[in-house]
């Protein structure tokens, strides 16, 4: 029932290894490739509207920042030839090159992780982890976190409004705002601990912490790796070995 996430994970691994092994001339086309995947392959479509929005916003943001980083590096690290790209601002080739290199690596690393998560809803990831043997308590923790992530912003808002209504200095000077910070965090923590205690009891009462009878444990058939996964893993290993060899042997 749970889609096999291993090819996707292997792909992220492959891209990460490439990010360190290759220089920007190879990385930039790879980045372009990664950006085309959501459009081309169904399994890489963004999982929801929100994911799509996040995906594109992050990409635009990253590309803009990368431009800034490259220019900054070229300006501050003043070694190498002088390059006149921007009128009046002295940029140097070493810094620019460094900027391009590191930006390419950073972009590829973050885009590959981003691609994975924007095309795989978090509950699916958690289910896959559970089937791979993640302990029940940790799975429960993750799922409850998602629930809290949904409800916390509203609760914080309510406490914020309640505190403002009773005169907490939420818009006054810096020191006052710090005090206001406590008057929000303190009731939040208190009510959350109380709720955790109650929820913990409720979970226990539904048998969450009981040891499951051995016959009832779901059998985990070890699925064979798909050919694509094997290919990607092999390619990653190969590139890694070559890179380490090149680094060790001058």
């Amino acid at each position: 029932m749970v889609p096999d996430l291993r090819p996707k994970l292997a792909f992220v691994l492959f891209l990460s290894v490439c990010a360190f092994a290759f220089d920007w001339q190879i990385l930039l086309p790879l980045i372009a490739l990664v950006l085309l995947f959501p459009l081309a392959l169904p399994s890489y479509h963004p999982a929801s509207d929100r994911a799509r929005h996040l995906f594109f916003r992050f990409i635009l943001f990253s590309i803009a920042i990368s431009g800034a980083i490259i220019v900054l590096n070229g300006w501050i690290l003043q070694t190498g030839e002088r390059v006149e790209i921007l009128p009046g601002i002295p940029l140097f080739s070493d810094g620019l090159l460094f900027g391009v290199r590191t930006a390419a690596r950073l972009l590829l690393l973050s885009f590959s992780v981003l691609l994975f998560f924007s095309s795989t809803p978090i509950p699916t990831c958690i289910n896959a982890l559970q089937q791979s043997g993640l302990p029940r308590t940790v799975v429960l923790m993750l799922l409850l976190t998602l629930h809290f992530l949904d409800s916390l912003p509203e609760r914080i808002n309510r406490i914020f409004m309640a505190q403002e209504a009773r005169g907490a200095p939420v818009r006054a000077g810096f020191i006052s705002r710090t005090k206001a910070f406590f008057s929000i965090l303190s009731p939040l923590l208190l009510s959350s601990i109380a709720e955790s205690v109650d929820r913990g009891v409720a979970l226990e009462l539904r048998g969450f912490l009981l040891e499951m009878a051995p016959s009832a444990k779901p059998a985990l058939p070890a699925q064979p790796l798909s050919p694509l996964t094997i290919l990607l893993l092999a390619a990653s290993f190969f590139i890694l070995v070559i890179s380490i060899a090149r680094w060790l042997l001058p």
Partner: protein, 201 residues
């Protein structure tokens, strides 16, 4: 297995929802600080809360899961810093166990030490994986250090030293002040109940 026994002991009953809340808090506290326009990060406050009230292994788990979820929700580079969060959780938990959260001066000292430790752990990751380029405000500081002749590793480390101890001292102090006012009947059933400062501290 001693570790898994310890983990089970820490994560019983009320601890599981509480740790989940702390992870969510790590990811949401930014909403509070920006609404109040207070310029601090505090993204490990939940980890430290778990460290005091529950224990080191639970706190390490909370920290690691926070990074992974943050990665999944729009900050992809956070996943690479999981080791730093593990260290923060373990270190805070061990300090809490030794009673460092009961006296304010130990809290400040502990926060400072934690900050240095965090800087030491994150420097190699920033330096080797990202060459000091993180697409965050701190990049400017790193660039400054590099422009005066330091290596990437040194620059990243100095940047960490400049910001992490302050952030961690503040986080520790906030946790200390918050924990002081908790009623005993609520905290009694958590594994770390003995680590909490009393009202007179």
């Amino acid at each position: 297995m001693k570790l898994s026994e310890q983990f089970t002991k820490e994560t019983s009953g009320a601890a599981i929802p509480f740790i989940a809340f702390c992870i969510a808090l790590n990811l949401t506290v930014g909403q509070v600080t920006s609404a109040l326009k207070i310029p601090i990060y505090l993204d490990s406050i939940g980890t430290v809360l778990t460290a005091v009230l529950v224990g080191p292994l639970a706190a390490a788990t909370a920290g690691a899961l926070s990074n992974l979820l943050a990665s999944a929700m729009g900050s992809p580079t956070m996943a690479f810093f999981v080791p730093v969060s593990l260290v923060i959780g373990l270190f805070s938990g061990i300090l809490a166990r030794r009673g460092w959260f009961k006296q304010w001066y130990l809290v400040v000292l502990g926060g400072a030490l934690q900050g240095v430790l965090a800087a030491v752990c994150s420097a190699p990751i920033s330096a080797y994986l990202f060459s000091g380029v993180m697409m965050a405000g701190t990049d400017f500081l790193v660039l400054y250090f590099r422009s005066v002749g330091n290596t990437i590793m040194e620059s990243v480390f100095y940047q960490g030293l400049a910001s992490d101890p302050v952030d961690k001292i503040i986080t520790y102090l906030i946790v200390f002040l918050l924990m002081r006012n908790l009623p005993r009947r609520l905290t009694g059933r958590f594994a770390g109940a003995a680590n909490i400062p009393s009202r007179s501290a």
